[in-house]
Assembly symmetry: none
Homo-oligomer: 254 residues x 2
């Protein structure tokens, strides 16, 4: 469970690090150490393989135990990203995704800019062997890839976290670019987006849109990826839900 602010190190801030199904406690510990080296403290895990807490993590955390103690565990990625405004999926594989693809150096200043606008940022890391699955990537609005030796591009989990934490730390002195003149209001949080997805998908199910049934999963993923790209604000998400309600609600009035 989340530690209180009092138990957390004072150098808070920066993106949440979200490990999906991490396998090795040693890597969780290395992640905590790498985070604290660069001032990050918000560690979240989804279904860690060996449960939590994990004694193997403390050994490699090397003093970053406060990060481990403050870590939060979730049973679903959707819950782990709820409340965040920007989620970046860290993956070595460039998928047939239609999201923006950034490097750590590009992501650093962007994360700072979001932060200074009061918007929550999270970085998603997949399990050691398999990496992120497509459903988890579909919850992200941006893909982050670490350019590396094409012949040996697989980074250790803790090492990947380190590079991103360092990129964030390093970009600290960058001046915050100004917001667009016409303020769109805050971007939708991920739980608002997921609610929108589920609302739309439920109505489309009723309408028999996702047919044949074996294609439903892929169609849902494509739909979510498309809507993620829209860059919806809170107001947009709410407007779209109103539109969906109006379109289906007119049924009874015919």
């Amino acid at each position: 469970m989340a530690g209180t602010d009092k138990t957390r190190p004072s150098l808070t801030g920066g993106p949440a690090i979200i490990l999906i199904e991490p396998q090795l406690g040693e890597n969780i510990g290395a992640t905590a150490r790498a985070m604290l080296n660069f001032g990050l403290t918000d560690l979240r895990m989804v279904r860690p393989r060996d449960g939590w807490p994990n004694p193997a993590a403390a050994a490699t955390a090397a003093g970053a135990v406060a990060v481990l103690e403050g870590a939060r565990v979730f049973s679903a990625t959707e819950d782990a990203v709820a409340g965040l405004h920007h989620v970046l999926a860290v993956t070595a594989r460039l998928r047939d995704s239609v999201k923006a693809v950034l490097t750590p150096r590009e992501a650093g200043p962007l994360m700072r800019r979001w932060e200074s606008a009061g918007e929550g940022v999270g970085l998603l890391f997949g399990p050691e062997r398999a990496g992120l699955n497509n459903d988890d990537v579909a919850l992200a609005d941006t893909v982050l890839t670490i350019p590396a030796n094409p012949a040996f591009s697989s980074l250790n989990l803790g090492q990947a976290v380190l590079l991103l934490a360092h990129a964030w730390y390093q970009s600290g002195s960058a001046p915050a670019p100004t917001r667009p003149v016409e303020d769109l209001g805050p971007p939708a949080t991920k739980d608002q987006l997921v609610s929108l997805f589920e609302h739309l998908e439920a109505e489309l199910d009723k309408a028999g849109f996702f047919l044949p049934a074996q294609r439903r999963k892929a169609m849902v993923r494509n739909l979510r990826n498309m809507v993620q790209r829209f860059g919806l604000s809170e107001l947009d998400a709410s407007a779209l839900r109103g539109i969906i309600r109006a379109l289906v609600g007119s049924k009874g009035q015919d």
Copy 2:
């Protein structure tokens, strides 16, 4: 002993990584992996604590065994740096030294410049606990420090190697971040957008969405502005029209 060029990975080049009295085989393995991730292959060690080869190193090298097999062991730092033109001492402590102090980001391009002039470059890392001693630092012409959280600045050895290897790789002609593999296709033309608007607005009119009537004009404008911001492709526009049809089409099926 040094491997032949044939046994080394093809992506050679870059600075030599020189570990002074490394203690843990795991860290030597992590170093080899981090090196190969970013195309470095020249690993040198001075008096590794547990001798060499070290089976614990292979476990964490995760496939970067060619780097371990090509590693060279020396009994003195002087021998390890012989033949190099530039030696950078990596240390968290900024000493009372009169050497230039660089960050990884600054050192990256400099190492590249030296290399392209045919000059050999090496990075010195001290033992896990103590770090470099002053005699070893004295063999360096430059001090390299990694800015980190002042309250928790001690990086794991393999992590420190990773950041430097990454800084070197990044400063090269690393290929620009790739665009999404699957092209989004051409953006929707304005007439396609207008068709989408009119389709949606007609359905929303039927649903009584634009009420009261005197607000219709402003509501339509807001809706169009929102959808313009989505940056729709042709395929997106067509998908959205399919969704609208499905949502309203379900009327008849109730």
